[in-house]
């Protein structure tokens, strides 16, 4: 039940013998004293020493069987000389699978294990060295990045101050121009209203004259016998004038329209005309059908494609186009409004100029506001304790796989685009730093990407590791629509500790 450990030190000059029960780490050696009763490490019971590692579990905590698989919760210590010592669950002792690189876990299973500790140690040393070099270089880069970020931050703060000053000037200018504009617009408005009113009056006169002319025309049309009187009989030929529209236009009804008399002259017809002009259909037009409206097809033609339709909706000309046939008719009858007189036009021009100047100033102010917002956002953004991640802001990094091009724009969004055609899919927009509590900057979370069918919105975790370059190294989709991206950057490099590779080889001896 004993393990005789014969360990050759790397220096190779001396050999050391250490006796302790199999599977016990050096740190617990004092609890296992040969020949003395063993007390389970949880203190629950004491057993004779020959029951330690006798392949039967006596202690609830498994401490009596560190070197056998008898206890379900035991653990076995591999010394792994040349590499790192380790604990494995005691259920892995003699299960035919080599777990400890020093092969000590398979002492009775028939498994042929090779001692790989030295090789592993060498490889680990190499990789640790390599990593340390990277970390060292990366850390140096990080210092530069931090300096740059500092400078960048100062620049931005200075710029913000500048812009804020210029904003003040702009605000004053906007206010001044607003007054100029309003001052210019008042006389413009009055002059335009005057002009419009005059035009309306003129139109009313024209309409009245037209009506009179039509009345005369109709009189002539109705006066079939040309006796300068309209008689009941003459009126009856126009069945559309039937007052109750019941299909029979009686003489009594016609007489009623004529004001209770049998016939009227041109003067009396004036009052009759007012009653019938809405219904009256000119004999000249009666046989020819009303002009056919613009064919619908023509109107619909531009709607063929969805995208176009959207555009049209935003196009104000479209509305004009649609109503124009009606407008046109009015214009034909009443003519177009005469141009503004010189004085009014001058007022309008100067008001327009004031408006343009005001709009321009306002636009400039908005731009400055945006600039300030962006600067403030960037200045207050959490770019890490030393703003070491600031250099990633407004950058994008791509990784091409066999099927897709993945694109990471830090603090903005992650996306995926098929290599051979197809549209881009949003894999998430910037959410937050999402590393573990003690290292929150080790992970970024991008969320609320394009929704998945019957599933969640896509999201991406970006895992940051130390490297000399800034590059996306891999992407995967460990769970449906939840992506994982590996990203290396000097910004996460930690100051490398002073290295002592030999140390762990000795700690057990």
């Amino acid at each position: 039940n004993y393990l005789l450990l014969l360990l050759l030190l790397s220096v190779g000059v001396s050999a050391v013998e250490i006796q302790r029960p199999r599977g016990v780490p050096l740190s617990k050696r004092q609890f296992y004293e040969e020949g003395k009763p063993f007390t389970c490490l949880d203190g629950t019971r004491t057993i004779p020493f020959d029951r330690v590692n006798d392949d039967y579990c006596d202690c609830h905590d498994g401490s009596d069987e560190p070197g056998t698989a008898a206890c379900p919760n035991g653990s076995f210590h591999c010394t792994n000389a040349g590499f790192r010592p380790a604990f494995i669950p005691s259920s892995r002792i003699n299960d035919g699978i080599c777990d400890c690189c020093d092969t000590t876990d398979e002492y009775n299973s028939g498994a042929t294990c090779q001692n790989t500790c030295r090789e592993l140690g060498r490889k680990e040393k190499e990789s640790l060295q390599k990593m340390a070099e990277i970390a060292k270089e990366g850390f140096l880069l990080k210092q530069q990045i931090i300096q740059e970020a500092k400078r960048g931050l100062e620049d931005k703060k200075a710029k913000l101050a500048d812009v804020q000053t210029s904003k003040k000037d702009l605000e004053d200018r906007v206010e001044a121009l607003r007054i100029v504009k309003e001052t210019a617009e008042q006389p413009e408005k009055e002059a335009k209203e005057r002009h419009l009113k005059a035009w309306e009056e003129e139109k009313a006169v024209i309409r009245m004259e037209k009506d009179k002319a039509r009345m005369a025309e109709v009189f002539l049309e109705l006066d079939d016998d040309a006796d300068d009187f309209i008689s009941v009989a003459e009126l009856l030929s126009h069945s559309e004038l039937d007052p109750d529209s019941d299909g029979s236009f009686t003489e009594a009804e016609a007489q009623g329209l004529l004001g209770g008399v049998d016939k009227v002259d041109t003067v009396a017809f004036e009052s009759v005309w007012n009653n019938i002009k809405e219904k009256y259909i000119s004999e000249a037009n009666a046989d020819t059908p009303a002009p056919v409206e613009t064919p619908q097809e023509e109107m619909r033609e531009p709607e063929e494609e969805e995208e176009d339709e959207e555009d049209e909706d935003d196009d104000p000309d479209e509305a004009d186009y649609k109503v124009s046939p009606l407008k046109k008719k009015d214009d034909d009858n009443e003519g177009t409004m005469p141009p503004y007189d010189q004085q009014t036009q001058t007022l309008i021009d100067s008001a327009q100029k004031a408006r343009n100047e005001f709009d321009e100033a306002e636009r400039a102010l908005r731009e400055v506001d945006d600039q300030i917002r962006n600067l403030e956002k960037e200045i207050s953004f959490d770019f890490g304790p030393n703003a070491e991640f600031a250099y990633l802001y407004s950058q994008c990094y791509e990784l091409s796989t066999s099927e897709y091009i993945y694109r990471l724009c830090p603090f903005n969004r992650v996306s995926q685009k098929p290599k051979y055609g197809g549209s881009e899919t949003n894999l998430g927009t910037w959410g937050k730093w999402a590393g573990p509590e003690d290292n929150v900057y080790a992970m970024m979370k991008y969320e609320h990407g394009t929704g998945c069918w019957q599933g969640p919105n896509r999201s991406t975790m970006v895992k940051l590791t130390c490297g000399k370059e800034t590059v996306v190294t891999s992407t995967s989709e460990p769970s449906r629509c939840e992506y994982l991206m590996e990203f290396i950057s000097p910004a996460v490099c930690q100051e490398p500790p002073s290295l002592d590779f030999g140390a762990h080889e000795h700690e057990e001896l």
Binding site: P72, G96, C452, S479
Partner: protein, 935 residues
């Protein structure tokens, strides 16, 4: 697996035309679309047959045609309405089984008789004539004054024992046999018409027959734009069975329904038609993925069974004269003595083929299992590792993912044996291939698993991508192995790969070729630790009627209509054969199938298909697997966690706790669900899952022994309580608890937020021991058990001995040489019995008597191990490390005596509070004789 999705990366890879089809045919519903599946009314033959009401049968036995030989009786039946003659064959089979076959005497062309399901032509026993007159014939069935009475007018069969009628056939006059006929509108049969015309007595009937002939759906039928041309015309068959004294019937899986079958008067009959039902609903008689046309009838005195050997679409109606009565009403009947005998009436309707029915007369449940096993065989004996835990997901993305998940189990110290790959592992859904990017070096991956003594299952579905660059397709096409459409071309349907052909697995030459594709030099990237999963083998045809194949597709001379329910059976048969052959006949196969039929138990495991992460789906897993066990298929499980949707943590843990005590224990998840490996739900839940998976592993010796028994005898592994307590009516409808073998009773917690469960512990003079606390409870009581999240109420029967291996390792194979702990639970008579079965765990060498089978018994304070198979030879390194005796008293001395006569004193501990005696490290080899004496 069935799914429609349009998210993630998959969408852009799907063929545009498939996308179009998806968009057209499925507009976003989530639950089962009942409209996609036929009701009886929409299935022309069912509607036609169900329209017939009980009454006097038009069939008459022509006694003068009777011929009785040593092995069978034959006589003709005539339908007085249409004068068609049928041939009745009656056999008495060994083991108390009566076989009744009815076919047309002279069918226009042969009618389909199901091949390959019976393991052999069942051996017969002589029938003897007891009496005969013009009314009928009485034949002796040999044992126990059993006889069968053939009545002539109308024709009926009654099977009697003494004065009791056990079962009657055609007693309600529902025997119907649609004879094959020429289509009247194309070619008339002048002979028949002339005959009918000249017989005035038959004119009424002739008119009636004419009426029948114009019914819809006889010569063609359409369902949702799918047309079923029926060149053979109507061919349905139907027969009724009356079961006097029976109020409980079971079986006819697969349905998502209670264990005890319900009456069907107020709705559709139970349907047997293998279908890929997307998001199936619970508690209804709709058909699911598999069909076993076997029904068990039970009362406190007797169990009988009906095996309706027909592979066509089948409907089963159940009615009962007591179904509507309340308990009070029944009591009133009893008090007033006015009660008629309770009776259940059953009626089977099939679309084609012949009537071939096996009446199993029990009388005990165990006898029924043996009788059925003598016809269709027993459960295949799985490799031991297949009884361990399986980790599945649609899909593990790539080799790295597989490696990460594998490492996750080690990191969290949870054992598992199999990791599974679903369809995405293939190169474009071409089975037998690997995705060249994601699974570029499958052998490397498999070797990684071999190094951990673990295994893998990869899916191989029966639909084959139509692609001239695909070897499998080219071979099948050039050999003419595809199922043909009605016009003679290769049948093509839509499935995962897009357009796909379906190999004709009903052909023996096709199956042999398929099996040869599993050879290591054919199936590239395969290794001995790669096993197979047959999904979609109903067969699933996305654009076919009811998501399956057109019934007028052709399998050689037979229509798909005739063989439909057999397709999945054959797929698994051929695949299992392939796995056997690749190892030169040495290794046991492991094949999981979704579709199945009677006899499928011989080829591997089944699971309950695409369930959902809902509590009711967890509950239904129990009756669904119990029903399968009753009809021979013991290796059953449900997707742990639920396939569709994402389970709550509580549901997932409860599902693990339930699944760990069901025969096939596999976690599975839909592609669109978040990952759910056991360690993703916080350390507390990881610990709960670890604990229950470990419990499964400690019990593997017992599970293995149960499967050995199932393989030897046909007894189910997972059993309803009534099977072991057939005289206790309190057990007859229980389906929220079950037995494993006869010694472990499990009442899983299947209620959300449960604080306790009430378990019925059967057996008036029995005791049961809580396996976790060792507390003893009396039988024949409803026991309330308070539960927490870690509770899994499991009880060991007093009187049993259960071997466990308490050293749980990374995989079952790692535990091979580990020692046993024997749990001896004493009954009130202070005795107990059990067994220990050991073999190499994975080869067929047990057939060559390379195993250890020992009986363990405790009586008179002596526990002994005796050889049950002295002719068998096997040696094990396993030994007995501990014996735990429950319900013991404290001895003063414990002595171990081994075969050599050596005696030694054993140390022991006694826990007086629970009366548990633990014997420390007796140490004898598990394969030898020994006794342990308590003094």
């Amino acid at each position: 697996m069935f799914n429609l999705r349009a998210g993630g990366q998959g969408l852009s890879r799907m063929a545009p035309v498939l996308l179009l089809w998806l968009a057209v045919s499925l507009s976003g519903t989530l639950a089962v679309d009942r409209g996609n599946f036929k009701t009886c009314d929409q299935s022309a033959f069912c509607k036609r047959q169900r329209a017939l009401k009980p009454g006097e049968s038009p069939y008459r036995a022509l006694l003068e045609t009777m011929e009785l030989t040593n092995t069978r009786l034959t006589l003709q039946l005539i339908n007085d309405n249409n004068k068609v003659h049928l041939l009745l064959e009656l056999y008495r089979l060994q083991g108390n089984i009566t076989r009744v076959k009815i076919n047309e005497l002279k069918p226009l062309k042969p009618r389909y008789e199901v091949p390959d399901v019976l393991i052999r032509e069942p051996p017969t026993e002589p029938l003897s004539l007891l009496s005969q007159d013009e009314n009928g014939v009485v034949l002796s069935l040999g044992a126990e004054s059993q006889r069968v009475i053939v009545s002539a007018r109308p024709f009926r069969l009654d099977i009697m024992e003494g004065r009791d009628v056990l079962m009657s056939l055609n007693s309600r006059g529902l025997l119907a046999f649609e004879h094959l006929r020429m289509r009247k509108d194309t070619q008339a049969d002048p002979e028949a018409e002339k005959k009918e015309d000249t017989d005035p007595a038959n004119q009424a009937e002739t008119a009636k027959e004419e009426e029948e002939k114009v019914e819809d759906g006889m010569w063609e039928e359409t369902f949702k734009s799918h047309s079923d041309g029926k060149p053979n015309g109507p061919s349905a068959i139907s027969l009724d069975f009356s079961l006097p004294g029976v109020e409980h019937v079971y079986g006819i899986p697969e349905h998502a329904d209670t264990l005890r079958l319900k009456t069907t008067d107020s709705g559709d009959p139970y349907r047997l038609y293998n279908l890929d039902v997307f998001q199936y609903e619970l508690y209804n008689p709709m058909a699911l993925y598999g069909a076993v046309p076997v029904m068990l009838a039970h009362n406190a005195h007797r169990t009988t069974g009906i095996f309706w050997l027909n592979a066509a679409e089948t409907w089963v109606d159940i009615s009962s004269n007591t179904a509507g009565k309340t308990v009070f009403g029944k009591m009133l009947d009893y008090v007033q003595g006015s009660s008629e005998t309770p009776q259940t009436d059953v009626r089977w309707i099939s679309e084609s083929g012949i009537i071939d029915v096996f009446i199993m007369l029990g009388p005990t449940p165990k006898d029924i299992f043996s009788q059925y096993a003598s016809l269709t065989g027993t459960q295949s004996f799985p490799p031991l590792s297949a009884l361990a835990y399986h980790q599945c997901r649609w899909n593990y993305n790539d080799q790295e993912d597989v490696q990460t998940v594998d490492a996750g189990f080690d990191e969290h110290d949870i054992p598992y044996d199999f990791i599974w790959l679903d369809i995405e592992h293939t190169d474009g859904k071409r089975y037998f291939t690997w995705d060249p990017h994601k699974f570029a070096t499958p052998k490397e991956m498999l070797q990684g698993l071999v190094d951990k003594k673990r295994k893998m299952v990869a899916i191989v579905d029966p639909h084959i991508k139509v692609d001239s660059n695909y070897k499998i397709h080219n071979e099948i096409r050039s050999r003419g192995y595809y199922i043909k459409n009605k016009d003679g071309g290769d049948y093509e349907g839509w499935c995962w790969p897009g357009s796909a052909g379906y190999p004709d697995f009903t052909r023996a030459d096709m199956r042999a070729w398929w099996a040869s594709m599993f050879a290591y030099d054919q199936y590239e990237g395969s290794m001995e630790n790669l096993y197979t999963w047959n999904d979609m083998n109903e067969p699933s045809v996305f654009n076919g009627p009811e998501v399956t194949m057109h019934k007028d597709a052709m399998h050689g001379a037979w229509e798909h209509r005739d063989v439909h329910n057999l397709y999945g059976f054959y797929v698994q048969m051929a695949t299992a054969e392939g796995l056997i052959q690749r190892s030169g006949g040495v290794e046991r196969p492991f094949v999981l199938t979704r579709a199945f039929f009677a006899g499928s138990q011989r080829y591997g495991a089944v699971w309950t298909g695409d369930n959902a992460a809902e509590w009711d789906h967890l509950k239904i897993s129990i009756p669904m697997c119990l029903s399968l066990g009753l009809v021979g298929i013991s290796f059953c499980g449900a997707d742990v966690g639920g396939f569709f949707k994402s389970p709550s943590t509580e549901l997932l843990v409860r599902w693990y706790q339930t699944g760990a005590y069901q025969p096939f224990f596999r976690a599975h998840a839909h592609l669109d669900t978040p990952r759910r490996e056991p360690w993703l739900f916080g350390p507390e839940n990881t610990a709960l899952i670890r604990e229950v998976v470990r419990q499964r592993y400690t019990l593997l010796p017992y599970w293995y022994q149960q499967f050995y028994h199932a393989h030897q005898t046909g007894q189910p592994v997972m059993r309803p309580l009534w099977v072991e307590y057939p005289q206790d009516p309190a057990t007859f409808a229980l389906d929220d608890e079950f037995l494993i073998g006869r010694d472990l009773l499990v009442h899983p917690v299947t209620e959300e937020g449960a604080r306790g469960v009430t378990a019925y512990l059967p057996g008036k003079d029995e005791v049961w021991f809580d396996v976790h606390t060792f507390q003893k409870h009396n039988g024949a009581q409803n026991l309330y058990i308070p539960v927490t999240m870690s509770s899994i109420p499991v009880f060991q029967r007093g009187g049993s001995i259960i071997p466990r291996k308490l050293r749980v390792r990374r995989s079952s194979t790692c535990m091979e040489h580990d020692p046993y702990t024997l749990y001896v639970a004493l009954n009130p008579q202070r005795t107990a019995e059990g067994e220990l079965y050991i073999d190499d765990g994975h080869t067929f060498n047990y057939e060559k008597k390379e195993f250890i089978h020992r009986s363990l018994s405790f009586a008179k304070n002596i526990l002994s191990s005796a050889n049950l198979a002295p002719e068998a030879q096997f040696s094990t390194r396993s030994w007995i490390e501990r014996i735990v005796i429950l319900g013991a008293s404290k001895p003063s001395k414990v002595t171990l005596k081994t075969a050599g006569g050596q005696e030694s004193q054993l140390e022991f501990e006694f826990d007086a509070s629970m009366s548990v005696l633990t014997l420390r490290k007796p140490g004898m080899n598990a394969g030898v004789d020994w006794t342990v004496t308590l003094q």
